[in-house]
Amino acid sequence: MPQKHPTPLIDELEKGAFPSFVKEIKRAAESSNVQDNNYAQDLLGQLELSYKEKKTHWKHGGIVGVRGYGSGVIGRYSDIPDQFPGVAHFHTIRVNQPGGFFYTTEALREICDIWDKYGSGLTNMHGSTGDIILLGTKTDNLEPVFAELSSRGWDLGGSGSAVRTPSCCVGPARCEWACYDTLELTYQITQRFQDELHRPMFPYKFKFKMAGCAVDCIASIARADMSIIGTWKGNIQIDQDEVRNYAKNGMDIQAEIVDMCPTGCMSWDGNELKINDEDCNRCMHCIAKMTKALRQGEEKGATILLGSKAPIVTGALMSWVIVPFIKLEPPYEELFDLVERIWEFWDEHGKNRERVGELIERMGFPVFLKETGIEPHPAMVKEPRRDPFFFWSEEDVEK
């Protein structure tokens, strides 16, 4: 029987209305399904100590992984293993999630059974990048878990200086706004770049996130080096009867729709909604509020943006436009070709731990466009430069 630690502080977090993670750790600590309850039991003990001392008790990284891969396992060790031997090793395994986070119960149970046999019985559904996170096992169990998982069709996700596990919104599976097949593109990108995902070869991480429309439920513009956001060309399709129904059911179309349109391209006379589509910037507000009445234009595709990251080190970046419009249909060769050109540029110039967005900032967006062969387009900027300090190349000047 594993040793039970008194946990008065974290017990406080079993109280209250919202689902409790402490209850979940306790379940894993007591579950008869979990083969080794020491992981969760000692996790409770160590967590209680962190709550008491207000500091973490995990050591920095370490060298663990499965053979041949440099990615997918995060090494984690307790800094007080004598006190909590159950979490002396507490490595995380990232498992590449299926697109759109859809599962059969059969598949989920299969993963649970493997994890109960070799790990803590604790998971994150899902981690911040999108992977299934199997939380806590020891070094000797890594190969067995990988053999069990991969023989059943599951592979590890990305970590370190690699392609991180691509992820997407629910897309065409259950959303009328998906302008391209986010699940299929995510699958194809993941398959195409398996080597780059498992064997870290880049200056730093590279994330892809696929959002079906500008609502961006996968937060691609903030959290992906390459953000692929669905959009369209052509007029918004209006069902005037349905517009009138919304008005009849209490929607103040003038205040809630027309006045909130960022481009002022709409008008409403109490009977008919008019849109000047030439001025529309496709923000999705009107469509999102009147799902029955308005539909996107018919020519669908995506905008590709590049470069977002959290503030470490020189400040947060959001992705910015590099390709205003691209049709995204299998086999996606145009996109893959673009990705490879971007990586070549990054490989050539990137410093250690420099994300692609930071590199472009350092080298200059024009240099990036020139070297990757992307044509400049007004959609790439909010406004042209304010200073007169621009470069010309040799062919631009008279000899």
Binding site: T105, S128, G136, I221, R223, C283, H285, R353
Partner: protein, 357 residues
């Protein structure tokens, strides 16, 4: 030990089509519209007239395998063995037969699941690992989520807000959660520079990359000690050096705390995506229930509810009224730390004579 199966590499994830419920497969890419029926139930209607009802419940993200087995059992009973998760850690049960919706909702309620998170409400909180699993955590993440949502859960299950309010928690400034673009977000921060364990630097760290890791060039080599030194006045406590060099721990229980940032968004609806901005620079790390943090979050949320127009996200509301007024209506003190002195500082200073008293 029993014989292990043959490992395979580079196979990637299973194809999603293996896991889609029949109604999804049949109407893939052919959805017409959707309607939100209650805080936790919506229906999507396909061109064909087929419908799928979604019932959403919260999860603590950190879940046991037994939790997963429990939801599987429910999905077997009502959803022919299919379920999905959202990008914000909720569980979604998908039902193609309307007569199963109410019994499903009732059983979920009976079993104590928290149903909600759809529409203009607070959905689940995106967050990081904290003291549960991270070496650089300045605070716990799951705990902060729990205490915040214990107070705000009615906005998940029932009450409507002017627009969606996206919450996030990151346990350090690495911000592995979407803190930098959320309506209200918490981030663990340090207030003191790292300590250098000179005897360990030689074995654990590569000096050039440690020096290069510092965004303010505060770190330089110390050849005499075969280590590095820090210009304390240049250090902004980001901890990036610690990520590269384990011999430079930065955690400081007395001074580590929680900052609150607000007004970010990722959607393009109405206004462009926005970064979160600093509302409260430091609150004490006060586990297990962080009362100061919760109180300040409620203060901000209440001011937003009071002042925002329908459909206005928190950041849009603040931009309409002005940040100077935000500090007035929330009662939060404005201090030196609110004024940016980093990379994008200049863009944030007021270069106009127009502001509100």
């Amino acid at each position: 030990m029993s014989e292990l199966p043959q490992r395979q590499t580079d196979i990637g994830p299973p194809h999603y089509s293996k896991f889609l419920p029949p109604v999804i497969k049949e109407n893939y890419g052919k959805w017409r519209y959707h309607e939100i029926l209650s805080a936790g139930v919506m229906v999507h209607v396909a061109e064909s007239g087929a419908k799928v009802w979604t019932v959403r419940v919260a999860s603590p993200r950190l879940v046991s395998t037994d939790f997963i087995r429990d939801i599987c059992e429910i999905a077997d009973k009502y959803c022919d063995g299919h379920l999905r998760f959202t990008t914000r850690h909720n569980v979604e049960f998908l039902v193609s037969d309307e007569s199963k919706v109410d019994p499903l909702v009732n059983e979920l309620k009976e079993k104590g699941y928290m149903i909600g998170g759809i529409g203009d409400r607070i959905s689940n909180v995106v967050h990081t690992q904290g003291w549960v699993h991270c070496h650089s955590a300045a605070t716990d993440a799951s705990g902060l989520v729990k205490v915040m949502m214990d107070e705000l859960h009615e906005y998940f299950t029932e009450k409507e807000l002017p627009a969606k309010v996206r919450l996030a928690v990151a346990c350090c400034v690495n911000m592995c959660g979407a803190v930098h673009c959320s309506d209200i977000a918490l981030v663990g921060v340090h207030k003191t520079p790292p300590r250098i364990e000179h005897d360990k630097v030689k074995n654990l760290c590569e000096i050039p990359s440690t020096v290069a890791s510092c965004p303010t060039s505060a770190i330089s080599p110390d050849p005499a000690k075969k280590s590095v030194k820090i210009k304390i006045e240049k250090c902004m406590y980001c901890g990036n050096c610690y990520s590269v060099c384990p011999a430079m721990p930065i955690s400081d229980p007395k001074n580590d705390g929680v900052a609150i940032v607000v007004g970010g968004k990722v959607s393009n609806l109405r206004s462009n995506p926005k970064f979160s901005k600093l509302a409260v620079p430091w609150l004490p790390n006060n586990p297990p229930r962080w009362p100061e943090v919760v109180e300040n979050v409620k203060k901000i949320l209440n001011a937003y509810i009071e002042g925002a127009k329908k459909h206005e996200r928190l950041g849009e509301w603040v931009e309409r009224i002005g940040w100077e007024k935000f500090f007035k209506v929330t009662g939060l003190p404005f201090q030196l730390q609110h004024i940016d002195d980093f990379t994008f500082a200049r863009e944030t200073w007021r270069m106009a004579a127009t502001f509100k008293w």
